[in-house]
């Protein structure tokens, strides 16, 4: 009746609630990093479902995040006070906005999932990338969403509690799913699609499900982001943002949720550490220069990782050498 994972989830949620008021008092810079870690965990854990467990290569996660961010921001801006102005009413409206963001993103995930039935590998990668560009392009041309100017003025509802509560929920859902019959289905599609189909697994269903769920979580993450930064811009959800999330999944190890969460945290902190290092006067000049060009370091890290440890830091072997 009380599974261990459920108890852990409840404990984490309560801990987030208790800690939230204290955490929000810390240095705003650290607070900002902390919230970004939570949002990136949601993004990476969701993408891991698609790229890691189901073996589909999606390069358009930022597009789903954009869909969620804009949908929730639009709802908040238009109907944020519709339920009243008390704390409870605005909080309810905020959670509803987040879910709307998730649902809109999930619908766009469905749109991408359907062509994915016919395409695989590199073709799928380019189509998801294309969808990312299309979503961005539609937003850039939509006047009600601020078009090229971006959208601002949302109330800052996102707190430590909401971010990490949703991060915990995401991780819980992904882990529960992976341990269930569905998880076996995802893994079967990844390991050998033809064999899976021959065994009577509805590969279509699993692929679309992975896309829709991954997109839903990305939408939630987008909503949290929009209500934290209070300003969103189409260029913030470009191809590079998608690559960022992909790198988190790969570094953590495709198909290892714990690894992916650690990688999301590491890769959020790393740029800030490098920024700090680049400003320490006592260090040699070249080291400062290296730290300043964090993207060079980042890309080298990616190449070296693939050459030496393709299963990621914590991965179990989704990308292990194939036997001929």
């Amino acid at each position: 009746m009380f599974e261990r994972s459920k108890i852990i989830l409840v404990v984490v949620l309560v801990a987030c609630g208790v800690a939230s008021p204290y955490v929000s008092g810390i240095n705003p810079y650290y607070y900002d990093i902390l919230i970004s870690i939570g949002i990136n965990i949601i993004l990476a854990a969701g993408l891991n479902l698609v790229n890691g467990y189901t073996g589909q290569f999606s390069l358009g996660h930022a597009g789903f995040m954009a869909a969620g961010a804009y949908a929730s921001a639009w709802l908040s801006l238009s109907y944020g006070d519709a339920l009243g102005t008390s704390v409870w009413a605005t909080t309810t409206a905020f959670v509803l906005a987040l879910f709307l963001g998730g649902v809109v993103a999930a619908l766009s995930g469905l749109l991408v999932g359907v062509p994915s039935l016919r395409l695989k590998g590199d073709y799928l990668a380019i189509v998801t990338l294309g969808f990312n560009e299309i979503i961005k392009g539609v937003i850039q041309n939509a006047e009600p969403l601020g078009a090229q100017r971006g959208l601002g003025g949302m109330v800052q509802h996102t707190t430590f509690f909401w971010t990490f509560a949703f991060a915990a929920l995401t991780v819980y859902v992904v882990l529960s799913l992976v341990r269930s019959t569905y998880g076996r289905g995802f893994l079967a599609v990844r390991d050998d699609e033809i064999a899976a189909e021959a065994m009577g697994i509805n590969t279509t269903k699993y692929k679309v499900l992975a896309f829709v769920l991954g997109a839903f979580f990305a939408g939630i993450a987008g909503g949290l982001y929009a209500h934290f930064k209070q300003f969103i811009h189409p260029e913030g959800f470009n191809f590079m943002k998608s690559i960022d999330v992909v790198v988190m999944v790969i570094l953590g190890g495709m198909g290892s949720t714990a690894g992916v969460c650690v990688a999301a945290a590491l890769l959020t902190i790393l740029p800030e550490v490098l920024r700090y290092v680049s400003k320490i006067e006592a260090l040699p000049h070249w080291l400062q220069q290296v730290a300043e060009n964090r993207m060079i370091l980042y890309s080298l890290l990616l190449i070296i990782l693939m050459l030496t440890r393709p299963q990621g830091l914590f991965g179990a072997g989704a990308l292990k050498k194939k036997k001929a």
């Binding site: 016919r118 380019i126 980042y298 890309s299 080298l300 050459l307």
Partner: protein, 312 residues
């Protein structure tokens, strides 16, 4: 009526010259895919390096052919950039892709993304992130069409536009000759058809793969120079968008298929020009990707691609 026709003709000419550039880059994607079955994401950045090779080595090369811009000088700059890019392409393959040849494609694809990010950011570090102005290697001017030709004389066609289209056609012929008539080309086709059988027939696949990377990268280098003649402002991130569009072109035409890449490039160039001319420039990228997705939904292997059966 005549006005509209004239405008359409103008857009088609603009589209053709932009499409030629895409076609040249797309050929590199497609050839590498043909022999290795993976997408070299860093290819667009080799195109950028071609432009910078012209920027740094161009003035000196040009000076060998006398004062100021000249056509022989411009051709020499083009060849220098092609050689530099071919070398870079071969080095990238040897260092980053060769050790991964037996690994799953995803590993190689991610490595390619890493190489691409490295070239972009390394480029910003080495060349500076601000746009540079490309040296004038030919004197660009409008072509004066005799007024006796009627209203066609109202078209604006520049020398550089014609040059881009002309050089692309020449390079396409050279490429077709290499692939269809030479021994190396035959080896490339054999490798693309069946790598194991090709090896058994005594083909040294390392040499062929290096050659393919060199050839594709040289074409990207040529595209880098040609695009810089038209738009003399170059920066280390110029390969991102061009590379992406060329990749779309290669997939649209059927990746792995050489005429398909050329066709796809021209189609993407034309689509872009028509969208910019008749719809709205901000819709350019979404429409290009929309066309790609539609084509893939109807024909998942692209316009000219042959469908491949998966062997169990």
């Amino acid at each position: 009526m005549a006005d509209k026709l004239l405008e359409l003709l103008q857009q088609i000419i603009n589209g053709l010259s932009q499409g030629s550039i895409y076609a040249l880059i797309a050929l590199g994607y497609t050839m590498v895919f043909g022999v290795l079955r993976f997408i070299n994401f860093a290819h667009g950045d080799v195109f950028m390096l071609g432009a910078f090779a012209g920027f740094y080595l161009g003035p000196k090369t040009l000076a060998l052919f006398g004062e100021g811009p000249s056509y022989p000088g411009a051709i020499a700059v083009l060849l220098v950039a092609m050689v530099v890019c071919a070398a870079i392409g071969i080095i990238i393959e040897r260092l980053c892709y060769k050790p991964l040849r037996e690994r799953p494609k995803l590993t190689v694809l991610i490595t390619a993304i890493g190489v691409s990010l490295f070239l972009e950011n390394g480029g910003q570090f080495a060349f500076g992130a601000d746009p540079k102005s490309f040296p004038e290697i030919i004197t660009d001017r409008l072509i004066e069409i005799p007024a006796s030709w009627g209203r066609i004389s109202e078209l604006t066609i520049t020398i550089s536009q014609l040059l881009v289209i002309g050089i692309t056609v020449v390079l396409l012929f050279v490429l077709t000759y290499i692939v269809m008539k030479t021994k190396m080309g035959m080896a490339m086709r054999a490798l693309s058809f069946n790598p194991v059988a090709a090896q058994l027939m005594g083909i040294n696949i390392n040499v062929v793969i290096s050659f393919t990377f060199g050839l594709g990268s040289a074409l990207a280098g040529a595209a880098g120079i040609l695009t810089s003649i038209q738009q003399p402002s170059i920066d280390p991130l110029m390969g991102v968008n061009a590379g992406l569009k060329a990749f779309v072109a290669a997939v649209l035409g059927g990746i792995g298929n050489i005429p398909g890449a050329a066709l796809g490039g021209i189609l993407i160039g034309l689509t872009e020009a028509l969208v910019v001319g008749y719809v709205n420039p901000t819709y350019r990228d979404p429409i290009v990707f929309g066309v790609l997705i539609l084509v893939l939904l109807v024909k998942p292997t692209g316009l000219l691609g042959a469908s491949e059966r998966e062997k169990v």
